[in-house]
């Protein structure tokens, strides 16, 4: 490596101190530094249990009150050093809606897990007519989607200065603050304009966009004065980005966010390579100047020469999804169309789930609502997402029913049918094992539409009458209304 890690205090290259990756830190390493008094103030049974959960990323040091006292100051500092993620965690916004970005420990999700799902900010600008601006703020706040029982929503508002006028910008920020509690990103290159905007949201701790080659000193002063995190922007100039990052950090602005430039289309290869390069240096080579959250701005596709709005939205959607996969810790988007946002919100939820978590649920029989002897009996596989999807549909439709969950080794219905894990025998065994016959006064079983081909064999193997249900559980309510009568 040609680059030496810097020592921020002296400005001299420090001796390379190889940090341990989170995967190399053992509970013992942590335990040695803990108070070892088993006081249980953390609600764990002892200090070792706490240290195990700490290295698993399930609790934080703040959960250990004694370590925060003067007595353990040195150990506390060492623990902070030991456990700090290679990508800094930066928070903006205030109150319960504040968002934390970055805080990543690993390059690839399967190495550990990703923390802090990337917030999606939607833009607006200060020349929008008042009503249009207020409508947009309202829509941003209200847009949501219910996905396997969770509410997915948008997380922040980026206010852009189109007017290049400080007063106009200040007014727009004021209006947004009055209408929404969402965290803000103030976007302007002129420090005077930025100061006007900041003065209108002193309590909100917005993210400042952006320090550049020309304005970095004034922006640094504003960030320090208003105690706000600051974006460092140097589109596709990685050397400049690094210069700015080092200089601003030396200046005393520690909560930095990096904008290496988002360029769709002809710049997509370079964009993805730059995001990947920064994250790789941070997580694999512990380069401190790369260890800040990354800002992706898919809305830049709107500045090109393309005219068709649907094409622009399409390009924004693919740029956003690729950046979510490739290390963007925060996104600024323009499209408010559900078909653009839905895949981003779902994919974000998905890649931030813990890959160490089982992909399957326990097989067994589940009762929903208040089933009686005439209630329908359904069957499905024990793939976690299959189960959660059906569970959420059953609950949404207020169905009273039994759901038999067959052990398919965590495979979905389609794969389990293809792989013969979900077959006539496994269905018949499930019915017998959980004694379903004793719960209802009929012998009719609804199987998934995707397992239709099993109906004949399953009837033979189980002695139950098989009713082929819908291919997608969203159709269950209607199916049961139309087709279900016990003993039919």
């Amino acid at each position: 490596m040609s680059r030496e890690p810097i020592n921020p205090a002296s400005g001299q290259p420090a001796e390379k101190k190889r940090r341990k990756s989170i995967r190399e830190i053992s509970p013992i390493d942590v335990y040695k530094l803990l108070p070892k008094i088993n006081c249980r103030e953390c609600r764990e049974s002892n200090c070792m249990a706490f240290s195990t959960r700490l290295v698993n990323g399930e609790v934080v040091l703040l959960d250990c009150p004694p370590i925060l006292t003067e007595e353990y100051r040195e150990a506390h500092t060492q623990l902070i050093e030991l456990l700090a993620p290679p990508v800094r965690a930066v928070t903006f916004g205030s109150g319960p809606d504040a968002v934390t970005i970055g805080g990543k420990y690993v390059l690839q999700r399967h190495e550990f897990t990703y923390h802090n799902p990337s917030p999606i900010a939607i833009d607006l600008h200060d020349l929008m007519p008042e009503q249009e601006l207020l409508d947009r703020v309202k829509t941003i706040g209200e847009f949501s989607y219910n996905y396997i029982g969770r509410t997915l929503s948008l997380n922040a508002i980026a206010i852009r200065c189109s007017s290049r006028d400080a007063e106009t910008f200040r007014d727009a920020v004021k209006r947004v603050v009055a209408a929404s509690k969402l965290p803000l990103i103030l976007c302007a290159h002129d420090p005077h304009v930025m100061e006007a905007g900041l003065s209108a949201c002193r309590e909100q701790t917005p993210l400042i966009y952006a320090a550049t080659e020309t304005n970095w000193k004034q922006m640094a002063e504003l960030a320090l004065q208003y105690r706000c995190p600051l974006v460092v922007s140097a589109p596709v100039d990685m050397d400049l980005l690094r210069s700015l990052t080092k200089t601003l950090f030396e200046y005393g602005v520690e909560d930095l966010v990096l904008d290496p430039g988002t360029i769709g289309e002809e710049g997509l290869a370079v964009t993805i390579a730059n995001f990947t390069g920064l994250r790789t240096e941070a997580c694999r080579h512990f380069d401190e100047l790369s260890g800040f959250p990354l800002l992706g701005i898919p809305m830049t596709v709107w500045t090109g020469s393309e005219i068709s709005e649907d094409v622009l939205k399409w390009k924004e959607a693919i740029t956003a999804s690729m950046l979510l996969s490739r290390y963007a810790d925060l996104l600024i988007m323009h499209s408010m169309d559900g078909w653009v946002l839905l895949p981003q919100m779902i994919w974000r939820f998905n890649i931030y789930t813990d890959p160490r978590k089982p992909v399957s649920v326990e097989p067994g029989l589940r009762a929903f609502g208040k089933p009686d002897r005439n209630s329908p009996v359904l069957v499905t596989t024990n793939y976690a997402l299959t189960f959660f999807t059906i569970e959420s549909d059953i609950k949404a439709a207020n169905l009273d029913c039994y759901l038999l969950i067959v052990d398919t080794g965590g495979l979905s219905v389609e794969s389990a049918v293809a792989g013969r894990y979900f077959n006539a025998d496994s269905i018949a065994n499930g019915l017998a094992e959980y004694n379903v016959e004793s719960l209802v006064g009929h012998k009719t079983l609804i199987i998934p539409g995707l397992a239709a081909r099993l109906s004949g064999d399953a009837e033979e193997a189980s002695g139950w009458k098989i009713l082929v249900g819908p291919k997608d559980s969203s159709g269950l309510a209607q199916f049961i209304r139309k087709r279900w009568s016990p003993g039919s």
């Binding site: 040609s2 680059r3 921020p8 205090a9 190399e24 830190i25 249990a49 195990t52 698993n56 934080v60 040091l61 902070i80 700090a84 993620p85 420990y105 897990t113 923390h115 802090n116 600008h125 290049r164 966009y209 970095w216 596709v236 700015l244 030396e250 005393g252 520690e254 002809e266 710049g267 997509l268 290869a269 790789t280 694999r284 080579h285 401190e288 701005i297 809305m299 830049t300 959607a317 999804s321 690729m322 996969s325 559900g338 895949p343 998905n350 789930t353 813990d354 160490r356 089982p358 992909v359 399957s360 997402l385 398919t408 080794g409 965590g410 979905s412 794969s415 081909r453 004949g456 969203s474």
Partner: protein, 409 residues
């Protein structure tokens, strides 16, 4: 059988845990550490919701002088070379090579994770295969609209896929051979494949019905009928090994010069095991892997991570995983968000469906997919354009995005 499968998956899950836990698990079920003991079962693994505060810079930061000018810096990527590479596999054969295709498609050859390093462009760009079915199958309306007039004629359908949508390959799904469906016999299946071979000059992928016995019978006859064409037979499985039909297909593929697609369900140990079985019968250059593609919203993250793991392990030297990989992006259409009419704020399914397939494909594109099975023309076009774009490494003009802060839109 389901039970043993489940245990294997549990073992697999454990492998992905933090190594220290693995260390604790080795051999013993209970560990004693100084004044502490615990049962392994007590370890609950949850989704972490918060993270340690990052104070690592803080210590060195007490007193400093504000710099007046920018520190000069250079960003350099630490050079990383991987000890191994992905095998290259060629599909289709020209007349000179013993087949009848006008061109062949070579996939694989990767020497580093996809698109991680601009200085290492892909050796072969990913190839795109478009589907045809040998019988009418239920398709989402948005897909059906594009192919309605050719749906009853696999040869015509294949021709349209190549001429109109630019398919690099065509997949012929012999859905009708399913014993629980029409149970079409191998001879009929051969006639269908032959008709498609006559209709188009690109390499073919032959899709079975999923029954380990029937597929073996059908694949073996097709392998002989299309000798030398270097078809990709989709797919062979561990269930075939259990049903003792794997050898028959593998030998037929070797004798007649075809390539096998090994299909396993999101489980790398199974993928390796299947490959080991196949090495007994044919050279590794005749094996492609399908590690399973799940729809966005229904577990795509499992597919993403399994592909990242497989590729990384392969490049680090795991020879049993050094095969090109295939992804059925069409599986994206299994997600209800792709095909269902939804409330107006979620947009029309005419756009939602194609973007679903596109994002499904692009996500796994980043994980290194070598060959895609796709359906919607918009998804195909987008992927093809991006394949070209991601190979472009010319410097870009930053001024192209300069105005996003002040643009009035």
């Amino acid at each position: 059988m389901a039970d043993s499968k489940r245990k294997k998956m549990d073992g697999e899950m454990l492998l992905s845990l933090a190594p220290q836990i693995l260390e604790l698990l080795k051999g013993v079920q209970q560990v004693e550490l100084e004044n502490f003991s615990m049962e392994i079962g007590d370890l609950e693994l949850l989704i972490p919701t918060s993270t340690a505060p990052s104070h690592r810079h803080a210590a060195a930061h007490a007193q400093k002088i504000k710099p007046a000018t920018l520190f000069p810096e250079r960003f350099t990527r630490t050079p990383v070379t991987f000890p191994a590479k992905i095998r290259e596999v060629t599909l289709g054969a020209t007349r000179a090579e013993g087949g009848s295709r006008s061109r062949t498609v070579t996939i694989g050859g990767a020497t580093s994770p996809a698109f991680s390093d601009l200085s290492v462009p892909p050796v072969h760009p990913p190839a795109i295969a478009l589907d045809v079915f040998d019988m009418e199958v239920p398709l989402p309306k948005v897909l059906k609209d594009n192919v309605r007039e050719v749906m009853n004629d696999p040869a015509e359908w294949a021709r349209m896929n190549v001429k109109k949508f630019g398919a690099d390959l065509v997949t012929v799904h012999l859905t009708s051979t399913d014993p629980l469906f029409r149970n079409t016999n191998p001879a009929q299946a051969c006639r269908t494949v032959d008709a498609v071979l006559q209709a188009v000059d690109v390499p073919l992928i032959i899709g079975g019905c999923g029954d380990p016995r029937k597929d073996a019978a059908v694949f073996s006859e097709i392998a002989a009928m299309a000798e030398g064409e270097r078809l990709l037979l989709n797919s062979v499985t561990l269930e075939m090994a259990e049903a003792k039909t794997l050898e028959k297909v593998a030998v037929a593929a070797r004798k007649n010069g075809h390539v096998l697609l090994g299909f396993t369900g999101l489980e790398l140990n199974s993928a390796k095991e299947l490959n080991r079985r196949l090495y007994e019968y044919l050279p590794p250059e005749q094996i492609v892997m399908d590690l399973t593609t799940v729809a966005l919203g229904y577990g795509l993250e499992y597919s993403f991570s399994i592909h990242e793991r497989a590729r990384y392990a392969a490049l680090m030297g795991d020879a049993e995983l050094q095969h090109p990989v295939i992804s059925a992006s069409t599986n994206a259409w299994g997600a209800r968000e792709a095909w269902m009419q939804m409330a107006p704020e979620y947009g029309s399914r005419e756009l939602r469906g194609p973007i679903w397939e596109t994002i499904n494909a692009l996500t796994l594109f980043l994980a290194g997919i070598d060959i895609y099975m796709m359906m919607h023309p918009a998804a195909v076009l987008t992927l093809r354009e991006l394949v070209g774009r991601l190979n472009e490494t010319r410097p870009v003009r930053p001024e192209a995005i300069h105005d996003w802060v002040s643009v009035r839109i």
